[in-house]
């Protein structure tokens, strides 16, 4: 599931899909924590997953706000077109 997310991140050019792939990767990480917690009978895995959820929520809020701003300014969501910071 993590690899799926990573592939999506690298392949898609639309910013929205990139963000969605990021969420997939976060969920993969969370799932890994939960599974690990149940495997060794520890509650820590679930606690960390709650943290990840909170972080994902705030990240999506900021990310979507940036996406809106970028769309207003550049009229596109293509990440490859937004390469003005070339070295």
């Amino acid at each position: 599931m993590f690899s799926l997310g990573l592939t999506g991140l690298l392949v898609r050019r639309n910013l929205i899909f990139v963000l969605m792939s990021l969420e997939v990767m976060l969920n993969a990480a969370g799932l890994a924590f939960v599974v690990a917690g149940s495997r060794w009978h520890q509650a820590d895995g679930q606690v960390v997953f709650l943290f990840i959820l909170a972080m994902a929520a705030s990240e999506v809020a900021v990310g979507l706000a940036l996406v809106l701003q970028i769309y207003r300014r550049f009229k596109t969501l293509d990440v490859d077109a937004l390469s003005a910071m070339r070295g």
């Binding site: 991140l9 390469s83 910071m85």
Partner: protein, 622 residues
């Protein structure tokens, strides 16, 4: 009265400072008043000091005035102290007095030049340095004055700095004398490390106590000092700078490059005569250098076209006489010749300046002629000085001083018949080139017309110096007697074979022979002189002498060209190459890395992912 001695160098130095700082705001009249007045006052103080020195001789016939301690480091304690004895008094009198006359002259001579106050600032600084050199009681202060006069010489040769040739001549003078100065500094190091002081009088005393006759230390010190003297006094093999130094204004040539600075070497040797007496080999070297120089420069003077260059070679040759006298142990004779030479050579240069200015910057004697009627004052003073230089018997100063030297080369302890012959040939050459000059410039058909006549400020110093050039000879007995308190008696060793009168008679005869040949070649039958040069041998000799016996050529090949070659090869400094390489490599890395900054976020993300995978793989499998 004698305690006013410190004013002698202080006055010119103060006025030099004043002119340097505020000279541009002064009017020409004010600049001249300050520049000439300070030297005048200095000369006046010198005369007062001399009067009190003579009327009430201080104990030991010397007077020391310590002004302050210069440095005090670990037993090395040079003072700013002045030392007056017969030797330095005579030199200072001549320097201030002749300097004063030349300053008066230059007040008019330089009036149309820009940098009028600059000129006087340099000249005053020169006089101040020269007096410091002469009055210094330790060798370090002497060296300060020594370098000071060298600096002023450099500044004044390149005074008309808009012409690059003058700058080149100035640099040449400075660099060549620097060779000698290095030798002199080595001498100072040697003397200080082995004798532990630089006070001249202590030094002489310790040297005579600690070093035996002919010791290696004394020989080395004396030879190194001779090196310094040779550089400053333009003797063989460092004489090449003086003829080129004539690029400077004529009063400069008169004051620095004829009357005073170039005799600093003579003074140095006379001042440290104890060392030279301890090292007979070094003293012999002095005599040989003097004899060789006086002959070589005499021959070169015969071939020059430029009136000032003829006089420059003549100066080199006359200082050769002084060195010869020092070398054979005739200390007083050398000083006597210095005094008379200062009078007549300054006069010759000043006369040449008048002529050059009158003829609108014409330097070649072959384009001059017939000036006898046109410029009577210049003519008569020039003839008097010329006769004195060539040694017209019985009435001129130059006759007395030069024939005393020639006689001493025969009779003194260090004398040798070969030196006597050299002196006699030199006398013949002197007479030849002097009258060649006079006949070419003043007789015959009119060459370049006269456009400007000298005013009183120029003719009066000429008159005074002409008077001195004639009657200076009568100073002989009092001057020699006076100098006995500072310099050892000349030891008469060889008697018989020749008497002093006989030697003088031969010298007088050679004067007449020189006069006759000069008359024959340069007035009566001028084409004879040309035919001499026309045959191949004559032409080769003429070329060789004209080029100063090829010394410039040798130095150019041996030193200047290798140096410029090395400089050219190393123009792009090879040490720099390494650092440039480092910079280039860094730049390469920078370009490579900056090309990875594509601005595409997905590339960055891929890079991060690949990096993490690599990292995890390393952790897991290594």
């Amino acid at each position: 009265m004698i305690s006013w001695m410190w004013l002698i160098p202080a006055l010119p130095f103060a006025s030099a400072l004043l002119l340097v700082l505020f000279g541009t705001r002064f009017s020409r009249r004010a600049a001249a008043a300050v520049g000439v007045g300070s030297i005048g006052l200095s000369a006046l103080v010198t005369i007062l000091v001399a009067a009190s020195f003579l009327s009430a001789p201080p104990a030991g016939n010397s007077y020391t005035q310590v002004l302050w301690t210069w440095i005090n480091v670990a037993g090395f304690e040079p003072q700013i102290g002045l030392y007056l004895d017969a030797l330095s008094l005579v030199m200072v009198l001549v320097v201030t007095f002749v300097g004063f006359l030349i300053h008066i002259y230059s007040a008019e001579f330089m009036i149309e030049d820009e940098g009028y106050s600059r000129f006087f600032a340099y000249m005053n600084l020169f006089v101040a340095s020269m007096i410091t050199l002469l009055l210094a009681n330790n060798l370090l202060l002497l060296l300060l004055g020594w370098e000071g006069v060298g600096l002023c010489s450099y500044l004044l040769i390149g005074f008309w700095y808009r012409d690059p040739a003058n700058g080149r001549a100035a640099r040449k003078a400075f660099i060549v004398t620097r060779v000698g100065d290095s030798a002199m500094m080595l001498a100072l190091f040697l003397l200080f490390t082995s004798l532990g002081t630089l006070q001249i009088q202590d030094l002489m005393q310790r040297a005579s106590e600690q070093w035996h006759l002919g010791s290696t230390y004394a020989l080395a010190a004396a030879l190194l000092l001779l090196g310094g003297a040779v550089g400053k006094s333009a003797q063989l093999p460092l004489q090449v700078w003086l003829p080129d130094a004539m690029a400077g204004p004529t009063p400069t040539s008169a004051l620095i490059h004829a009357a005073t600075m170039v005799t600093a070497g003579v003074y140095l040797i006379a001042r440290t005569h104890v060392l030279f007496s301890l090292a007979p080999a070094a003293q012999l070297a002095v005599a040989v250098v003097g004899a060789a120089t006086l002959l070589l420069a005499g021959f070169s003077a015969l071939t020059q076209h430029d009136i000032k260059r003829v006089l420059a070679y003549s100066t080199v040759s006359q200082i050769g006489y002084m060195f010869l006298a020092l070398g054979v142990g005739a200390w007083q004779a050398a000083l006597f010749h210095f005094v008379t030479h200062a009078f007549f050579k300054a006069l010759l240069f000043l006369g040449a300046g008048v002529i050059i200015e009158a003829l609108h910057d014409e330097h070649s004697i072959f384009k001059m002629g017939g000036l006898r009627k046109e410029m009577p004052v210049a003519f008569w003073t020039f003839v008097m000085a010329g006769c004195s230089l060539a040694g017209l018997p019985f009435i001129t100063a130059g006759f007395f001083s030069k024939d005393l030297i020639i006689w001493e080369t025969w009779s003194a302890q260090g004398g040798h018949p070969a030196f006597w012959v050299a002196g006699m040939v030199g006398a013949l050459l002197t007479s030849l080139y002097t009258f060649r000059l006079i006949f070419r410039v003043f007789f015959g058909p009119l060459g370049t017309p006269v456009t400007k006549r000298p005013g009183y400020a120029m003719t009066i110093p000429l008159g005074i110096l002409a008077f001195l050039a004639i009657v200076g000879g009568y100073l002989k007995e009092p001057l020699l007697g006076f100098l006995h308190s500072a310099l050892p008696e000349t030891i008469e060793a060889r008697v018989g074979g020749l008497t002093e009168t006989g030697s003088e008679a031969i010298a007088g005869l050679l004067f007449l022979v020189g006069l006759y040949f000069a008359y024959l070649f340069h007035l009566q039958k001028r084409n004879l002189a040309d035919s001499l040069v026309a045959n191949p041998v004559g032409r080769a000799l003429h070329q060789w002498w004209f080029a100063d016996w090829g010394f410039d050529w040798i130095y150019d090949k041996a030193f200047v060209q290798p140096f410029t070659w090395v400089a050219n090869v190393n123009k792009s400094d090879f040490v720099d190459g390494f650092y440039t390489g480092v910079a280039r490599l860094t730049e390469l890395f920078y370009r490579g890395l900056s090309s990875t900054q594509t601005g595409r976020v997905r590339w960055y993300a891929a890079g991060m992912a690949a990096g993490s995978v690599l990292f995890v793989a390393m952790v897991l499998f290594l």
